[in-house]
């Protein structure tokens, strides 16, 4: 039952992230749900542990769906691109249990865009409560909306600066009851209360959201 519940939660998260992006007027590239968790080992095992935000789920839409024909790989030299392709190939093999053929091989040979790579690397990251962009948004319970390359680069936050290098021009973190919803876009998107209300409706599970 626990596994079934976990599966249900993941599916629900995915549907909500997808609904958030696909239903938006703006062109978001991806959405990530950073989920609040507690690390009992780091906390010494004597209480509820250290609070951190870890990967809950993510939905990557990409850039080409909105008619952008030119993929962004500007920050990448040939060696880095080869490295990305190799990682994709290895991950394909890992996920498909080594039985990779045809389309999976082709997928590994295609260029990996900057935003794809940023999204992929995000899966390996987590943030202590109060640190990084998601951690700050959660601790202070306020939305952080960085719009324009200058805002990302000058934010003093490593994740935003990294995002700017990978072509993001808008990065938003919206806190919810048990986590933070992060959205990124290669477009400059101005702050909208609609989006924040939508996140409140979809992701505040404690209040019957969704």
């Amino acid at each position: 039952p626990a596994a079934a519940q976990s599966r249900l939660n993941e599916d629900t998260l995915q549907q909500r992230l997808q609904a958030l992006i696909e239903g938006a007027r703006e062109t978001w590239t991806y959405a990530i749900y950073w989920q609040l968790s507690y690390d009992s080992i780091a906390g010494g095992g004597d209480g509820e542990g250290t609070a951190f935000l870890g990967w809950g789920d993510g939905y990557y839409k990409g850039e080409e769906d909105k008619g952008k024909s030119k993929k962004r790989c500007s920050s990448v030299n040939a060696v880095e691109q080869e490295h990305r392709k190799r990682v994709i190939r290895e991950l394909n093999a890992l996920i498909s249990g080594g039985a990779v053929a045809g389309a999976a091989d082709d997928a590994g040979d295609e260029e990996v865009t900057d935003t794809e790579w940023f999204f992929l690397v995000s899966m390996t990251q987590s943030f202590l409560n109060g640190t990084g962009l998601p951690g700050q948004a959660f601790l202070h319970c306020r939305t952080i909306w960085l719009s324009g390359s200058g805002a990302l680069a000058g934010s003093g936050c490593e994740r935003a600066q990294q995002g700017q290098i990978y072509g993001l021009r808008t990065l938003v973190c919206i806190p919810s009851d048990n986590g933070v919803v992060e959205l990124g876009s290669t477009d400059v998107i101005q702050q909208s209360s609609d989006l924040m209300e939508k996140v409140n409706t979809l992701f505040n599970f404690n209040n019957g959201g969704g």
Partner: protein
């Protein structure tokens, strides 16, 4: 290969599958 936490494994699986779909969709037609 079995040491990925389940949420990340499923997210990764979805990401890779969608990437393949996008690549196939954007592939130029060759008769």
């Amino acid at each position: 290969g079995g040491d990925l936490p389940i949420p990340r494994r499923r997210s990764l699986q979805r990401f890779l599958e969608k990437r393949k779909e996008r690549l196939v969709r954007n592939m130029p037609y060759s008769p």
